[in-house]
Symmetry: C2
Subunit: 215 residues, 2 copies
DNA sequence: AGAAAACCGTACCGCCGGTGCAGTTTTCGC
DNA sequence: GCGAAAACTGCACCGGCGGTACGGTTTTCT
């Protein structure tokens, strides 16, 4: 009864590749079972419908992403004690990781499924929603620690800043796809990083000629 | 032979509503013709397949959006001669327009179709691509005028800034959908506006006490 | 050995996009 | 008002899709 999980994972692997490459709707069950070498009955033994497949994909995706983010921001925490630096370093490492993927990053299941919402039932949509909120909460937590330590240059809500980072990632993914250029995602992640940096770093040192201050 | 165009427009109206609400794949031809009160033959008389419907939707969407953007940034040009202010005012007006829509903005056809790419043929995808590039080029043109007049606080490429604005819009749309909160889009459009503002406005005026400069 | 888990085979359903084609009504220019 | 083109209708049919139903078989663990 170990083999059951193996098959399940194989189905998820094949489905995930299809969904990222072609979207959920365009990835047919027939196609999945053909590649997996099983029958339709076998598929429906593991997933009683396509919604359950979607949930399986999202669940796996979430934990994998949590691991990656944990590694990246864990490393950032090793490199600096400062909350601002931790976020900046983490975002840089994250962007570098996306840029380093051969053939470009695979795209994000959550982003994909957000836009195919009506293909799914409420359960799946709630799951997508909760994952997005997890991301926002994660970045918001980091931003709030920064706010406690740094003066804000403009009166901007931490939630907005957090959503801006998530937005840059989602927007970057969608634009990478639209333009067929995977470099847009890391580029825009770094833009989000720069935004945070500017919001908290005293700009005067760069923008104002030092003579003006010295005078 | 005027009635032909009327029917065509009616089909497009119904299809557009469906696509924005449920996505392209989930909007069936049967459903469209039922609401339009025509037969399947009638539908295929106007659009020889679903790809042509998609192109029709995109074409209409593009010209409508061009008009809106023209109005918004035209108004901004009336209100200021300064290239930076024109972009800032235009983005504010744009965000306000999105926020003012009852029941929230309808979402963007281009963003929707970017993520359903594999449902379409190359022609449609090329069209989506070209629209995204038009947007980038538009914002890039504005940014370049600003760059010519203002010192950049950080060495950031105008193209990146332009893509950041487009990204904020796309990301804002996708996050509004995911979270079921239409206010995220205008919020993130204003975040993009603020980014531009910070990049070009000498922060010193805010961050450095005026006395320090006067002294 | 036996029970549960992990499948297979087959036949079937309704929806969907799409085709083909012959026939009918509507509209417009002359 | 007439004729031709445009704008449809009606119907029959196709293959792919998600999904159901159910009886039978193999594999795996205990």
């Amino acid at each position: 009864m170990r083999k059951g999980n193996e098959t399940r994972e194989r189905i998820l692997d094949i489905a995930e590749a299809g969904v990222l490459a072609k979207g959920f709707g365009a990835t047919s069950i027939d196609e999945i079972i053909a590649e997996a070498g099983i029958t339709k009955s076998g598929f429906f033994y593991h997933f009683h419908d396509k919604n359950e497949l979607a949930r399986g994909l999202l669940s796996r995706h979430r934990s994998r992403l949590e691991q990656l983010v944990g590694e990246v921001f864990g490393r950032a925490a090793e490199l600096s004690d400062d909350p601002l630096q931790r976020l900046l370093i983490g975002l840089t490492l994250f962007a570098e990781h996306m840029a380093s993927m051969p053939g470009g990053h695979p795209g994000c299941l959550v982003a994909t499924m957000s836009y195919q919402g009506q293909l799914f039932n409420r359960e799946v949509r709630a799951m997508v929603n909760s994952i997005v909120e997890e991301w926002n909460a994660f970045f918001r937590g980091m931003v709030e620690k920064i706010v406690a330590a740094y003066p804000l240059r403009e009166p901007v809500d931490p939630g907005r800043i957090a959503r801006n980072i998530t937005c840059a990632i989602d927007g970057g993914i969608i634009m990478s796809k639209s333009l067929g250029d995977p470099s847009v995602l890391p580029e825009q992640m770094l833009m989000a990083r720069n935004y945070v940096k500017m919001l908290f770093q005293p700009a005067a040192l760069h923008a104002v000629p030092r003579e003006a201050l010295a005078a």
